[in-house]
Each structure stands twice: as C-alpha cells, then as structure tokens.
C-alpha cells in the first residue's frame, strides 16, 4: 500500500516538473526574441535590457527554469505587460469565480448524472430515453449548451441573468447556475451513461441474484449491494472529467462573460500576454495532474485490486 502511494506521488512530481518545463520552455519556441515577447512587442532597448536582467535571460536554461520555478512556488507568477501588474494580483479575484463554477458544475454532474444513470438502469423505458439523450448530450460542446440555455432560460423565460458573475453568495449562485449547467451538460450525459452501464452490470451479478432470492427488498439491495460497487467505474473517469471541466470552464466563462481564470486565459492568449498565459496554463495543468493523482490514490484505496496492476 505504501509502495503504491510513494510510486504514485513520485510519478506526480515528475510529471509536474516536466510539464512545467514544457510550459516554461514554450516561450523560447515562439518566433522572436523572448525579451520582446515578454515586453509585448514594441519596447525601447532600455526596457528590453531591464527585462533581460530581471528574467536572467542570459543565464543557462536550467538556471532560468529553476529561478522561474522557485519564483512560482513562492507565488511570483511574473508580470503582465498588458496590465502592468503582477499576475498573482490579477489572478486572485478571478480564481474565485472559476473555482465556484467548477465546484458547482461538479456537484451537478455527480448529483444529476449518477441519479439519472441509476434510475435509467432500474427502469426499462427511462433507460431507452436516457440512451438517446446521453448520445446527444455527450456530443454537445459546452458553448452550444450555453447558447441553448441562454436562448431558452435567459432570453425567453428570463429566469436567469445572461452574463456576469454576480456578487455575494446567493448572487453568485444565481448568476453561475446557467454556466454551471452548460459546463456540466456533456459530463452529466457521460456519467449517466457510465452509471447506467455499471449498475446494469451489477444487477446481473450473482450476489444480487442471491440477495433477491433470499427475499431482501429491492431498495435495500440497490442501496447496499449494487450502488457501492457500481460507483467504481465512475471514480475511474473522474480524472478525465476534471480535464474536461477545466477546458470547458474556459469556454463557458467566455460565453457568459464571466470574469474568471478561463476567460482571462483566452484574453491573454489573444493579446500574447505571455506571462499570464504561462501562469494560468501552469495552474490548470497542475490542477489536472494533481487531481488525477488524487483520483488514482483514492481508487487504489477503494479497490485493492488496482494497487497490484502497476508498472509496465
């Protein structure tokens, strides 16, 4: 068990290091001089020289990477040339919106997705509807779901605001409901489909048959014997879901005019504000990698069989 944890954490750290190096090194892949890029295009030779000194651009790659990395770990994410402010100050308020959105969407995905899948597996007719629904749902990108929701619920019915993130907890909740649904849309379909397949499979297993023949009431069977086992595949796809949520949050924030990290990333990418792009990309990738590792560890804890299938 301990060996598994150590292995997994080790792989996590290695992946983080290499991924951060890729993000760091990307700056040097771009056409042009890195100093000019960081300055944002036109700058006087004096400013360029200052940037070169600040970022130690004349040092060897490893030293520069190490400086950058230690800076990041201390909270120094660089300077945005567009806003002339430190990236950390710019990100702090925006991060809250993004986190709220992603957590909200996750709750919807788990709650609605699992419930839908479970009910679909237990009832024939609902099952057929859900199969069709999930096929369409999974194919719906977040931005398409967004405009459908806007058209129906915001413009025509007027139940929810069209854009903005709102203030205060209830304000945020109300403003972020449609974005969260748009973000969760495709994933609810995915989770529902997996849950349905998993529950169906559990239901056909011998231990369930035995329980049924012993006269245990159906709801109890579902709760005690079926549900917990059926949940295992869902935890397995949790990692993939996190990646999708991160990418989807970027699009949804833009669609609803939310001032979060995602829309900031898009804006910065368009403006070639490279320090911002690097910082946000690093944060998102790190979140993804850590989330995956956590999911793997939790899975290993839940299902001892997974701990044995390790290594190549």
């Amino acid at each position: 068990m301990l060996r598994f944890v150590v292995q997994r954490v080790g792989a996590l750290v290695l992946t983080l290091l290499v991924a951060s190096f890729v993000i760091f090194g990307a700056l040097y892949l771009a056409p042009g001089d890195p100093a000019t890029l960081l300055a944002g295009g036109r700058a006087t030779p004096a400013v360029l020289e200052q940037i070169r000194v600040q970022n130690h651009l004349s040092d060897p790659v490893w030293a520069r990477y190490w400086d950058w990395l230690t800076g990041v770990l201390h909270g120094d994410l660089g300077q945005s040339f567009v806003y002339r402010q430190s990236v950390t100050t710019l990100l702090a308020p925006r991060a809250g919106t993004t986190v709220f959105l992603v957590v909200y969407a996750s709750i919807i995905i788990l709650g609605v997705g699992v419930t839908l899948g479970l009910s679909a597996a237990l009832r024939r007719r609902l099952g057929a509807v859900v199969t069709v629904g999930t096929a369409v749902g999974m194919a719906t990108p977040a931005f398409v779901a967004a405009i459908i929701l806007i058209t129906v619920f915001a413009v025509n019915l007027g139940w929810f605001p069209v854009f903005g993130a709102g203030s205060g907890f209830t304000g945020r909740l109300w403003h972020l409901t449609l974005p969260a649904i748009a973000l969760a849309f495709a994933w609810v379909a995915y989770v529902a489909q997996i849950t349905k397949a998993s529950v169906r499979e559990e239901l056909s297993k011998e231990h369930v048959e035995t329980a049924r023949s012993r006269g245990i009431p159906a709801p109890l069977i579902v709760r005690r014997h079926v549900f917990r086992n059926a949940l295992i595949p869902i935890t397995t796809v949790a990692g993939l879901t996190v990646a999708g949520l991160i990418a989807g949050a970027v699009v949804v924030e833009q669609a609803f005019g939310l001032n979060g990290m995602g829309s900031f990333l898009v804006q910065a990418a368009g403006q070639k504000d490279f320090a911002v792009v690097q910082a946000i990309a690093l944060l998102l990738v790190a979140t993804f990698v850590i989330a995956n590792a956590v999911v793997d560890l939790v899975n290993g804890l839940l299902d001892p069989r997974l701990r044995l299938v390790k290594g190549r």
Partner: protein, 279 residues
C-alpha cells in the same frame, strides 16, 4: 443469449450505423460541393435584409449582416470538417507509427515513448491549443498542430495495446522465425491487421477534434471572420440571441452536435464490430 456454435447469425441491418454513415457522407458532400450548390455568396452583406426569417430566397433566413444562413452553413462545413480531419490524420498517423514501433521494439524505446506520452497526457487539448495560439497567433494551423499533439497520446496508447496483442500472435512470430525483415513484417502483416482499429480510433477522435476546434473558433482564436465556420457562427450569432434572433447560433450549434453524434455513434458501432474496448 445466442448459443455457442451457431453457424448462421441473423443478418440484421444496423440502422443506426447506416443513418450515421449516410449523414456523414451527406455533410461531406455538401462541404465539397458548397461552391456549386450554395444559393448565395456567403460573404455577401445586405444590411436591409438582416435577420430575415425563412423565405424562398433564404431558406434558413439571414444573419445580422443580411448574409444567407444556408449558404454560410454550407461553406462553413468545409473548414469545420477540414480542421478535425487534419488533426485526426496527423494524430492517427503518428500514433500508429509510434504504436507499432513501441510494440515491435519494446525495451527502452517503448519505455521512453510511453513516458513522453504520459507527459503529454497532462495537457488538456484546449490548454495546449491556447498555448500555441499565444505563441504563434490565431488561425487554423496553430490550433490544428497543437490539438494533433494533444490527441497523440490517446491514439498511441489505444493502438499500442492493439499492436502488442497482434504482435504476439503466432503468425507474426512465424514471419519473424522465417527471417522476414522487420519492415516487411510490420508493413505487410502487422499494419493491415490493426487498420480496422486505427479506423475506429480515427472516427472516435473526429468528434472530439470537431468539438475542440469549434470551441477555439468560438473563442475567436481560430479562423478569422468573415470566413464561415460553425464555431465562429455560434459566436457571431450570440449577440443576436439577445435581440430575439437565435437562428445563426442555434443552426450552427445543431450542425455541430449532429455531426459529432454521427461520428460518435458510428465509431461505437464499428468498435463493437471489431470487438475493441473503446476508451
């Protein structure tokens, strides 16, 4: 349950697969023939005819600048399908090559390439594409190349296990023992037998590629207006939704969903046929 050993399986037509394949062929045909069959010039602006409903001359109405929606949707299908096609071709081509190489050579090559692919797994496609756009500017190529690289590990991983399984089969061993050169064994025997799986993977990837690329265009970081592209049209039409004209966004969005559904279902059906576990 069918009894084991039944000789004649009932030949039931898979309607789902048929419908999907037909739809895809239809869309591809429209894309190729767009200049010939589109009723209007997709870039022709006519402010006086803005936001018109369906009519004889404009079967699907017009957008905010009076451009014919049907023609724009038709022309848009060209880029909206070309982008994902490029991504899929590049990713599956490289993925197959890597998979066969890793499966055949094993040892350090397999270990190293697997590690590299693991690192690539850490980057969600969209993030990689945004990085590329920040470096090389918006357009078609930066996102396409970035997404191809981002999809590579998924294709390579699936195809590697397929190739490994195939490689360990007796007939390949027989070729090896016979002394056939590696190039012949891999090209003449191994590759053709894993091609069905490559095809399935390509079909499944197409859907994801379409969605990701449309998202990038939606964000304004793909092709530039006035070029027509479905994701871009969804973005263009969004402001019109607020004034009560959701047509442009909805039609474009609908086409995206329909195409992705078709490819996903087709891929699933093909996968079941070839008995491969989908990712």
């Amino acid at each position: 349950m069918a009894t084991a050993g039944t000789r004649r399986r009932a030949r039931r037509i898979d309607w789902v697969m048929l419908v999907c394949a037909t739809f895809i062929l239809l869309i591809v045909a429209v894309a190729i023939l767009a200049p010939l069959i589109a009723p209007h010039d997709p870039t022709q602006v006519d402010i006086l005819a803005a936001h018109e409903g369906p009519s004889a001359s404009h079967p699907l109405g017009t957008d905010a600048l009076g451009r014919d929606l049907l023609s724009r949707l038709m022309y848009a299908s060209r880029l909206s399908l070309l982008g994902p096609a490029l991504i899929v071709v590049i990713a599956t081509f490289l993925g197959t090559f890597l998979a066969i190489a890793a499966a055949w050579m094993g040892g350090w090559f397999d270990a190293v390439s697997s590690r590299i692919l693991d690192i690539l797994f850490a980057f969600p496609g969209l993030i990689f594409a945004l990085l590329a756009v920040a470096l090389f500017g918006p357009g078609l190529w930066a996102p396409v190349i970035a997404l191809s690289i981002a999809y590579l590990p998924y294709d390579a991983r699936v195809l590697r296990s397929v190739a490994l399984r195939e490689r360990n089969l007796p007939y390949i061993q027989a070729c090896y023992v016979e002394g056939l050169p590696t190039r012949t064994i891999t090209a003449r025997h191994l590759l053709p037998n894993i091609l069905p799986f490559v095809f399935v993977q390509a079909t499944l990837s197409f859907g994801y590629a379409l969605v990701d690329l449309a998202a990038i265009s939606y964000l304004g970081l793909g092709v530039a207006p006035p070029t027509a592209e479905w994701g871009l049209m969804v973005a263009n039409g969004q402001s019109s939704i607020l004034t009560g004209y959701p047509q442009e966004s909805l039609y474009a969005g609908l086409l995206i969903v329909a195409t992705v559904v078709a490819f996903n279902l087709l891929g699933d059906r093909l996968a079941t046929r070839f008995s491969v576990t989908t990712q």
